[in-house]
C-alpha cells in the first residue's frame, strides 16, 4: 500500500467514524415526550437572527418543563441558513417526520415560501415569529397559489403592509415639510417594505418623496447614496434594510455633516444598532415590536439566568409562538391535526400583554408597531404608531 492510498484510507476512516457518532435518542417511559421544531438560520451569514429566536424557543420550553413535571419537549433544530435553496432541502425531512407536531419558524419569508409545499403536504402547523411578507397570508396576492399559507401557516408578527405606513408616519412625525429619501438593501425583506413605505408617504400630509436608492447588502461605502441624499435635499432618510448596514450608513451620513432624520424599520430595530452606530445613532427613529427587556425586565433577567445570554431579536414573538404549541401539548393535542385545530382556535394573552388570536388567514389581529427613539444609546419606546 503506498502513501497516497494510506492517506485516503485514513480520510475515509475518519469520515466513517464521524458518521458513526450520530445516534438517535429514545424517550424514557416515565415522562411524556413530545417533539417540536425550530426552523431558521442557525449557520451562515444570518445565523444571529436564528440563534436569538431559537434561544427564545428554548427559554419557553425550559419554563414549560419546570412548570409541568412529567413533560419532556425535544426541540429539533432545523437550520435553513435563511436560504430558500437550503430550506427546500431540509423541509421535506421535517414534513415527513410525524414526530414533530409543531414548528416555530421559518424565520425568513423566502425560506417559508420554499418550505410551505412540504408542510402543507404533511399538515404540519407552523407559527413564524418573523416572516413578514404580505403574500403569505393574502389570498388575493398574484402569487397566492403558492405563497398563501392557509391552513398551516400562522405568524405572531405584524406584516410589511402594516409596518410601511407606521414607518412613514413615525419618520415624518413633527416635520411639516418632510422631503423623504427611501432606500433598501436589495433583500426580499427590504424591497417590498420600501414599496409600502413609499406608497404610504403619499397619504402623509406635507411629505414628499424626493429620491431613493437600492444598495447591495454587502456595501460599506455609502458615499454615492449620501451624494444622492444631499443632491435631493432630503431631510428625512428611511432605510428598510437591517441594522448592521444601517449603523455603518448613519455614521457616514453624520460624518458628511448631514442632519437629516434617520429612520428604519424592524430590521434596524435592534439594540446592536445603537451600539454599532454610537453617537451617530442618536435621534434615529425606528419602528418595531417591543423586545423582552422592554416588556418585562424580570422575564429578561430570568431569560439570562436560564439561557446564559441576553434575549435578542424577536424574542417575544419566539416565546409566544412556542407557548402556543406548548399549551396545546398540555391540553393533549398530540397529533398534527389536533394541534392545527388548537392553534386555529387559540385565544390567550401573549407575554407582551396583547391578545393572540389568529384570523382565518393566519395573521394576528392585535399587536402593531411601536415607535422607538434612540436616546443615550438605548431604544426608548415612544408608544404605538397608529
Amino acid at each position: 500500500m503506498n502513501k497516497k492510498i494510506k492517506a485516503s484510507a485514513a480520510i475515509v476512516a475518519a469520515i466513517a467514524l464521524s458518521f458513526g457518532a450520530f445516534a438517535t435518542t429514545s424517550a424514557s417511559a416515565a415522562t411524556k415526550t413530545f417533539t417540536l421544531a425550530y426552523q431558521g438560520p442557525l449557520s451562515g451569514g444570518e445565523a444571529s437572527t436564528g440563534i436569538d429566536e431559537q434561544n427564545g424557543v428554548k427559554y419557553a420550553i425550559k419554563v414549560f418543563e419546570a412548570a409541568n413535571p412529567g413533560y419532556k419537549i425535544n426541540l429539533v433544530s432545523v437550520d435553513d441558513e435563511g436560504d430558500p435553496a437550503v430550506a427546500s432541502k431540509v423541509a421535506p425531512g421535517v414534513g415527513t417526520n410525524t414526530k414533530i407536531i409543531g414548528l416555530i419558524g421559518p424565520a425568513y419569508s423566502g425560506a417559508t415560501i420554499a418550505s410551505l409545499p412540504y408542510y402543507k403536504a404533511g399538515n404540519l402547523t407552523v407559527i413564524s415569529p418573523s416572516a413578514t411578507r404580505v403574500s403569505l397570508t393574502d389570498p388575493k396576492s398574484p402569487t397566492a397559489k403558492s405563497d398563501y399559507g392557509r391552513p398551516i401557516f400562522h405568524r405572531v408578527v405584524a406584516t410589511d403592509d402594516k409596518q410601511g405606513p407606521a414607518l412613514a408616519k413615525f419618520a415624518t412625525a413633527g416635520n411639516t415639510a418632510a422631503k423623504v429619501f427611501v432606500f433598501d438593501d436589495q433583500s426580499s425583506y427590504a424591497v417590498p417594505l420600501r414599496g409600502y413605505v413609499e406608497a404610504a408617504l403619499k397619504n402623509v400630509k406635507g411629505a414628499t418623496l424626493v429620491g431613493g436608492d437600492s444598495v447591495p447588502n454587502t456595501t460599506t461605502d455609502f458615499s454615492p447614496t449620501i451624494a444622492k441624499i444631499k443632491s435631493a435635499g432630503a431631510n428625512v432618510v428611511i432605510y428598510t434594510g437591517y441594522y448592521s448596514q444601517a449603523a455603518v450608513f448613519v455614521k457616514q451620513l453624520r460624518d458628511s455633516g448631514s442632519t437629516a432624520t434617520f429612520a428604519g424599520g424592524d430590521g434596524v430595530f435592534n439594540q446592536q444598532f445603537a451600539v454599532l452606530a454610537g453617537k451617530a445613532g442618536e435621534g434615529a427613529k425606528l419602528t418595531g415590536v417591543a423586545g423582552l427587556a422592554d416588556v418585562d425586565p424580570k422575564i429578561e433577567a430570568d431569560f439570562k439566568a436560564k439561557i446564559g445570554v441576553s434575549s435578542g431579536v424577536y424574542a417575544v414573538e419566539s416565546i409566544d409562538a412556542a407557548n402556543i404549541f406548548l399549551s396545546g401539548i398540555k391540553n393533549g393535542k398530540t397529533t398534527r391535526a389536533a394541534m392545527n385545530k388548537w392553534v386555529k382556535s387559540y385565544n390567550f394573552k401573549g407575554i407582551a400583554g396583547a391578545n393572540i388570536k389568529f384570523n382565518q388567514h393566519g395573521d394576528i389581529s392585535e399587536g402593531g408597531f411601536a415607535g422607538f427613539l434612540v436616546t443615550g444609546g438605548t431604544l426608548v419606546n415612544k408608544g404605538p404608531v397608529a
Binding site: 436560504d83 430558500p84 425531512g93 415527513t96 423566502g110 415560501i113 420554499a114 412540504y118 397559489k145 426580499s188
Partner: protein
C-alpha cells in the same frame, strides 16, 4: 502496487471485458444507481434533511452540473467561474414560462437548454479569446451579472423570486409527489446517463480530440489547423446546455426560485466537485459531485462547524490527492504537467 491507480484499474477491467460483460457492467451500475433512493434506511441516511430529496438536489443535480462543467474545464481546459449563470438561466426560463404560459416542464426543457446555449454563444464569442485567469474573471463577472439583473428587474419579481412553479406532469402514469422524490431522482438519473453517453461519444470523435489538443497546447493546436475558437465555443455551449437543463430541473423540483440561490458560491462549489473528484475523468467528476453534494447534509449533526469541516476536507484531499479522488488516465496527466494550461 507502486503505481496503483483506481481509475486505470477500472479502465483495465473495462478493456479486458467482452461485449456481453460490458453490457452487464453497465446494467448493474445503472440498476445500483437507480436503487439509491431505497438506501435511505442505511448509514447513508441524512439527519434533518430528507434523504430522497437530498439525492435529487444537491447530489444528482450537482453530478449533472459537474459533468457539464467538466466539458469546459476538464476536457478543453478553460477555467469557468461563472457556470451558475447557465443554471440560473435554465431555472428562470422554467420559472417565467410556467408563470406566463401553460407549458409544462418537459416542453420548457428544450427552451431552457436553448436559452442557456444562446447565452453561452453570446458570452463565448467575445471572451473565449482570453486565456486562463482572464477568462476566469470574465466568466465570474458574467455569473454575477445574471444574478444582479434577476435581482433588479421587475419581470423576474426581483428579490422575491418566482414561486408557484408547476410540478412536472406524470411520467408513464406515475405522479410526481412532494414527499416522495424517487421519481424525480430517476428523471435526473436519465439526464445524467444521456449526458455521459453524449460526452463519451464526443470525446472519441473529432471535437474530443480538438478539445484535448486545445487543453494541452492551444497554440500548437491552432498551428496544426484546429479551429480552436470554434471548438472552444462548442465546448462552452455544450457545458451551458447541461447547466441550463440542470436549472430547469432544479426549478421544477424546488417550485420556488430567487436570485440568492444563484450566487458565485454555486460556481465555486461545482468547480470544487470537478477538481475534487478528478478533473477530466467522467467517473471522478461523478464521484466528486456526489460526495460534495451529499457531505454537508450528512454532517448536519455538527451543525455549526459544517462548512468549516467542508473547507478542511477540500484542503486535505487536494493536498493528498491533487489530481482528485479518481484521476484521469496517466497518459493524459503526464502531458498536463508540461503544459500550464489546465
Amino acid at each position: 502496487m507502486k503505481n496503483f491507480n483506481l481509475r486505470d484499474f477500472g479502465a483495465g477491467i473495462w478493456e479486458r471485458s467482452n461485449r456481453y460483460q460490458r453490457v452487464a457492467i453497465v446494467l448493474v451500475t445503472i440498476t445500483l444507481a437507480a436503487l439509491l433512493p431505497f438506501a435511505g434506511a442505511s448509514f447513508l441516511a441524512t439527519p434533518v434533511a430528507a434523504y430522497d430529496a437530498v439525492l435529487v438536489y444537491p447530489v444528482a443535480i450537482f453530478v449533472l452540473m459537474s459533468l457539464g462543467l467538466n466539458i469546459v474545464v476538464g476536457k478543453s481546459g478553460m477555467l469557468d467561474l461563472g457556470y451558475v449563470a447557465f443554471f440560473a438561466i435554465g431555472a428562470y426560463t422554467n420559472g417565467l414560462l410556467s408563470m406566463h404560459t401553460g407549458l409544462n416542464t418537459w416542453e420548457i426543457m428544450p427552451i431552457g437548454i436553448g436559452a442557456a446555449m444562446f447565452a453561452g454563444v453570446l458570452l463565448g464569442i467575445p471572451t473565449l479569446r482570453l486565456r486562463g485567469d482572464y477568462l476566469a474573471i470574465v466568466t465570474l463577472g458574467f455569473g454575477e451579472i445574471i444574478r444582479i439583473v434577476a435581482l433588479n428587474v421587475s419581470w423576474t419579481n426581483g428579490p422575491n423570486g418566482i414561486s408557484g412553479i408547476q410540478m412536472p406532469p406524470p411520467i408513464l402514469g406515475k405522479e410526481f409527489a412532494l414527499d416522495d422524490q424517487k421519481l424525480f431522482f430517476w428523471v435526473v438519473l436519465v439526464m445524467i446517463l444521456l449526458t455521459i453517453w453524449m460526452i463519451r461519444r464526443l470525446t472519441v470523435r473529432r471535437p474530443g480530440r480538438a478539445w484535448e489538443a486545445i487543453r494541452q497546447d492551444e497554440d500548437a493546436a491552432e498551428l496544426m489547423g484546429v479551429p480552436t475558437l470554434k471548438y472552444k465555443i462548442w465546448s462552452f455551449t455544450l457545458g451551458a446546455a447541461i447547466g441550463g437543463a440542470a436549472g430547469v430541473l432544479y426549478a421544477a423540483k424546488n417550485l420556488f426560485i430567487s436570485p440568492e440561490m444563484f450566487t458565485l458560491n454555486v460556481s465555486i462549489l461545482i468547480l470544487a466537485c470537478v477538481v475534487f473528484g478528478g478533473i477530466g475523468n467522467i467517473w471522478g467528476v461523478i464521484l466528486g459531485g456526489a460526495i460534495l453534494g451529499y457531505l454537508p447534509d450528512r454532517i448536519r449533526f455538527i451543525s455549526d462547524a459544517r462548512l468549516l469541516v467542508f473547507g478542511l476536507v477540500l484542503v486535505v484531499v487536494m493536498n493528498f490527492r491533487p489530481d482528485g479522488l479518481l484521476p484521469r488516465k496517466k497518459r493524459e496527466k503526464a502531458l498536463v504537467k508540461k503544459g500550464a494550461s489546465a
